[in-house]
Symmetry: C2
Subunit: 105 residues, 2 copies
Amino acid sequence: MDTWTSHNLDEAMTRIADDITCDAPGARISGTQQYRDFLGRFMVELTGVETAAVFGDDTTAVLFYYPHTANVSDAPTAECFTVIGGKITRSVLVFDRPSFAPPQR
Amino acid sequence: MDTWTSHNLDEAMTRIADDITCDAPGARISGTQQYRDFLGRFMVELTGVETAAVFGDDTTAVLFYYPHTANVSDAPTAECFTVIGGKITRSVLVFDRPSFAPPQR
């Protein structure tokens, strides 16, 4: 989480397996290049992160957090990681797309 | 979770504190009557639940699951409960509303 908010994409990617798959709302991401692009787009929107809950065991980690962006800070996001050999091989990401939509003008 | 899929709303509500608050996508629910109405509407849509991850400690429980409805079974939902004195006092519910929208005809 510190890695994300420090906007250090290279450091974040060291924890990601080559065959990463990520299910995100409306998107299925496969492989490190797609994941890096996805994570990079997320990071540049991020002004901070408020962590609500973190749990895990040897193979699974679950995060609950509030990403802070320029417009939104009260919409929760949850992520369930599968970890094999110390690397994240699968991520299931849940957030409500409408809650993060740009404000209507 | 078994309680939900058995559609036993009375049983489910025994675990809910009188002053429950629930933040759901696009909705803030307060008190047992509102929560009961909300949970009831969810239950009637539910044909099953596939649990992906469950973690918790004395005060917090985090669930990751795939609610199965008539139209959708591959959209994840996450929930973070705060538990005080054995009852759920707060729930933060995350799902992507568009992923559960009825199919376009």
